[in-house]
């Protein structure tokens, strides 16, 4: 039973460590002693970067989630048909998700390069003008959204697919016998049954997307002129981006991100309880 204590202490220790860490974050800048209270948060809220960054974070998250989920769902439905090679192709689809983010990000930034990127070459071939994907403030956010959607599709596909596996085919056949069309069957039979899996997929997607940092930082560094700065990259820039680190505000921004993720998680649990009743 001593081991019980020892084994139990491990995870507990880790968590304690975690909570300690976020404390250290706040006290670090001030040499540990003076308690800054909510000053850092006030600085952050008053910063002209804050509201645009928040807006962009929300836009980034919502747009990414919408596309990732709908494309992932469409692909999951497609792969359910069990055609030859389907298992292999499904596995290959995982590649974008497994690649190191820096690899995907640099690959995309070369593809989206203004002068010699393949995307602009394709646009030219179609007769459209070139777009300065990464250097035009109007397009920078779109570019990182595209790259992030690409990375997120496999996760949605795999989770939704395994959710679909749990839907018994008999229900489908019954609905088909009753004369329901393909779309009707999806809308009124499959989708409601998939609701729990969909909810958890979206929640996890939300959490992952909120904290996306690598892709944006590598592709645009949040620029040009903050056009693709989200809360995550802003937090990094405050903390590490310049010679004068401002860990306090940086950590404050980060903690806001955690709060956002937590709120979404709590809403999710609420909704689930409501459904269970």
């Amino acid at each position: 039973m001593i081991y019980l204590g020892a084994f139990y202490a491990y995870p507990l220790y880790r968590n304690l460590d975690l909570s300690l860490r976020s404390y250290t974050v706040r006290s670090f800048v001030h040499g540990g002693a003076p308690f800054a209270g909510l000053d850092n948060y006030r600085t952050v809220f008053a910063d002209p970067t804050f509201w645009p960054a928040l807006t962009r974070t929300v836009v980034f998250t919502v747009v990414c989630l919408a596309f990732q989920f709908s494309i992932g769902m469409a692909l999951a439905l497609f792969f359910r048909r069990h055609f030859p090679l389907s298992a292999t192709l499904r596995a290959v689809f995982l590649v974008p998700w497994l690649l190191p983010l820096i690899v995907s990000a640099s690959s995309w930034s070369w593809m989206l390069n203004s002068e010699s990127g393949v995307v602009n070459a394709a646009l030219r071939a179609l007769g459209a003008g070139p777009v300065n994907w990464l250097t035009d403030p109007r397009w920078a956010l779109v570019s990182v959204i595209i790259a992030n959607i690409w990375i997120g599709i496999p996760f949605n596909l795999v989770v939704l697919y395994s959710g679909l596996q749990a839907v018994p085919p008999e229900i489908h056949e019954a609905a088909a016998l009753d004369g329901a069309s393909g779309w009707q069957r999806f809308r009124w039979v499959t989708f409601p049954l998939l609701r729990p899996v969909s909810a958890i997929t979206i929640l996890l997607g939300l959490v992952y997307t909120l904290k996306v940092f690598d892709i944006i930082w590598i592709m645009t560094r949040g620029g040009p002129a903050d056009a693709s700065t989200t809360l995550a990259t802003w937090s990094y820039r405050l903390g590490f981006g310049s010679l004068l680190p401002r860990f306090g505000p940086g950590a404050a921004v980060g903690n806001l991100l955690i709060v956002m993720a937590l709120v979404c998680g709590l809403v999710y649990i609420r909704v689930q309880r409501g459904q269970a009743r």
């Binding site: 995870p11 640099s106 989770v159 937090s235 998680g265």
Partner: protein
Amino acid sequence: MRRALTTVAGLVLTAAMLFPVYWMINVSFTKDTDMRADPPHLFPSDGTLEGYRAVLDQQLPYLGTSLLVGLGTVAVTLALAAPAGYSLAKLRPRGGGVLSFILLIAQMIPGIIMAMGFYAIYLRAGILNSVAGLILADSTIAVPFGVLIFAAFMSGIPEELTNAALIDGASRWRTFVSVILPVSRNAIVTVSLFAFLWAWSDFVFAATLDGGGEHQPITLGIYHYIGNNNQQWNAIMATAVVASIPATLLLILAQRYVAAGVTAGAVKD
């Protein structure tokens, strides 16, 4: 006939999805002079190995560090997560449910927050820019996930198995090592796989905690490349290709473990 058409459609979709990966490989073989060709060459028909030569010349130390960090992270993660998962699943400590929930939340914490915390701690402890520090930091990405996977898996191991060992006079620890661990092979593989991949791909911790270190991982190698010489895209992409090898290998060799890991957190309940 319809099935064949569906396969074709699937192939087309997969090709579209993998185009960025293909493009990376294509560019890695393209000559510097052809890099800005218009229209871009779709095949590296007149290719070069310059990019890969540059990788061999300059990137090997980075790759070595990444390998070391990856393996170290796997070791630390397994050492922490397997006993913790066992205790959660079998010994049922008080507050176990709360603990699982906390672990779930822990996975949601953005890496940058952790990085700042680590930075402060490491600065005081003097292990900034060290491989050991990076391993410790990277393991925090994988430990919560590992504990949850182990707990889920081990709670499926029949009690009779452990009880038999206990009756035979084995201690808790003995039971764990010689009965539980061998049966949990699948969980061990899944956790190791993801711990390795995450450590290998990590950029946030590397950039913040090891930015000035002597031994830097491959993600930083690529990052410096992008920053320094914008012209040598074949070398950048060649490094990227090499950096993708572990992910690809693992996907081929351990496909079902990967799928298990992706869905484990999501569909279990």
